[in-house]
Amino acid sequence: METTTLIWLIPLPPLLAFFLIVLFTNRSKALSHTIAVGAAALSFIGSMIVFVRALGVEHLGEHPFESAINWLPTGDTWFRIGVLIDPLGAAVLFFVAITIFMIFLYSVGYHNYGQPAGDHDVKGLPPHGATVTDEHGHKHVVPSVEPMYSRFFAFLGLFAFGMYTLVVSDNLLTLFVGWEIMGLCSYLLIGFWYGKPSARDAAVKAFMTTRVGDVFMLLGIAFLYSATGTLTFREIFTEETLHALASTPAWFGMTASGLIALLLFIGTVGKSAQWPLHVWLPDAMEGPTPVSAMIHAATMVSAGVYAVIRMFPLLTADWNGHELTTTMTIVAFIGAFTALFAATIAVAQNDIKRVLAYSTISQLGYMIAALGIGAYVAAAFHLITHAFFKALLFLGSGSVIHGMEHGVLHTGNHHVDPQDMYNMGGLRKKMPITFWTFLIGGFALSGFPLVTAGFWSKDEILADAFGHGHLAVFVTLAIAAFLTAFYTMRQITLTFLGEPRTEEAKHAQETPWTMTTPLIVLAFFAVTYGWVGISEHFPILGGLVPNWFHDFVGHTLAEVPEAPEFSWIPLLTSLVVALGGLALGYLTYRNVKSVSEDKFQIPLLKNKYYFDEAYNFLFIRPAYWFAENVVYKFLDKGVIDGFLHAFGPFTQGTGSALRNYFDLPVINRAIGDGSAEITYWFGGKLRGIQTGRVQQYLMLALVTFIVIGAALYFFVFAA
């Protein structure tokens, strides 16, 4: 098959799966998950074929796979949509396909496929377990299958469609369509257990918060379209267009390109949960764990960073290569600030998934900061390695929670939160596969030197920041990296090491193969993917393996970015912060028995710097007040109802006035009755001449004839 045709087809199987499940197979759990996983596998195979073919093309950056059709007539020209796979697209497609496929597979196990239906399970709530009797007559409580199993796979399919659409798009509009489809799906999936009020709130919060960013992004798209007349990437990223945009002044001392890039970036701030729109992502943990992995690794948040990487030529259009532009400064600041800010919060969280959520925010901040200082390849590299190890960590945490839920079902004590790390401990013996893969993921996140992917990508960002002299960014990111290693080791220590702290942890159990297989596959990539991007200047190891990633993805841009010169300072820094953070994390938490011994339960951090409260006070309550007093009481009750209430009597008055003073006297009386009366009167007068005598008629005719003839003669002919 033609490669371009194949690219067109990649997003379609998950969409088809969505419709098939929704319309036909939702009653059959087996059929639904077969269709969904099969569709994910098809897209995966297609993506891999495209990726392999992309590897075989020389100068893919100049001659990418692209194909477009006329879509919307706009005046004399057409708005064209199409697909594009350039080196960046191929690299992103690679990790997206793998993670999506793994998450689909994992969901089968996570939702307890093959287990009996629950005793009291209802739709909209997590399954509570089922009682079974074995052959000896003993009763056991075992995990029960998710009541809305098919629906989950339908949503996942739609979500995957959105992500694939976003990745293969060759223009901002279809990218935005995929972006919004994911927004909808994230709302549906976070609120999947809609019976829980917290899940409902989290779904609304995620949707509303990302919407704030999306509005600005749409503004940016509209601005870009009005300025250039096109939204196709390869038409925008030409020398002339970028130069024209960069030399057009816009507001606030920014150029048009800078302002557009900033508006698009605000969309990313919402989607990738950067400060100050980060608040939705930790709450999104209310969704089932595969959803967390889907949103936090493979799809939505990566999509935000991907969009900035995609628009990188626009972001740097007016950059001279040394001093950062206004927009880039803002991007770098928000990224670096978010990286540090979220890392500090993560230290004080006890929910295993919330730690990872803040860690995600922090790591995304890393990538954004890298883009802000112009480190294009490093950002893309970290995006991909992060996607692998963060998906691994989320799926690992889901596996842990699943194992803990098993323990909870065993003891029957439902007051034990299976997500609280202080209820765990010592799980390494109960769940060895989960432990080892989680350890790999955690070390990759911390940047454990040399072996893990996270080290290479994080080191490259730090080296870039240092090499180009952005010391503030460098220091901020270094501290964030230290905190990352610290809270990661805290998490691993509390969860897996030591002795079980609760009865439930003692009875935790390893999860089925559908859950552990994705963990192993992702762990493989979390280690090896770093080796494709080892800088050539790295001592000893540099040059052993060619720096494939830099060569490949770097050629997406017209000018291949230079890798920074090697320096010992960033390397030593990343070694020290990673190892130091890990060691300190282990030493601090190895003997902690309960939450009261945790020295980092600082209220400020525990409460996430009171951002939720602040937003509640600043935006939500004023919005409620506005809705109640202005919109409801004033506008609706006062103005609109007042107008309506005035309008009714007014029309009634006008109507009766018209009836009394116009319709009755004029129409009815004068015209209606009057015409009849006049006719009657004339009839009465004229009927006298109707005598029935022929000779009188003739006489009358003669007289009339003479009179008319005389009149004609005198007034017409003689005149």
Partner: protein
């Protein structure tokens, strides 16, 4: 040759006599006679104008013949009506035949 005006004056006189008969006579049969006089005065006009105009154009004579035919038919119908009215109302006085009033 006699001038055309003589014929016209004669026809006008005949028409006037006929019209006077129609308007003044009480007998319905006499009214019909008056109508015949008026029709024949028209025929005189038609014949006179033919003779004094282009004799090769026969329209005047043809028209006169049509008028004869119509007059004959009219008399036939008119007399039949008069007889029919006489049978039902025992009168032929026009003023007394006034059923067609309001």
């Amino acid at each position: 040759m006699v001038p055309l005006s003589w014929y016209l004056i004669f026809a006008a006189a005949l028409f006037s006599i006929g019209m006077f008969g129609v308007l003044s006579r009480r007998n319905a049969v006499a009214i019909l006679l008056g109508i015949e006089l008026m029709l024949n005065s028209v025929n005189i006009n038609l014949a006179a104008f033919w003779r004094y105009g282009d004799v090769h154009l026969m329209a005047g004579q043809v028209f006169a013949i049509i008028v004869f035919a119509v007059a004959a038919a009219e008399v036939a119908v008119g007399l039949a009506l008069v007889i029919s009215v006489y049978r039902s109302r025992r009168t032929v006085v026009a003023d007394e035949i006034d059923m067609m009033k309001w």
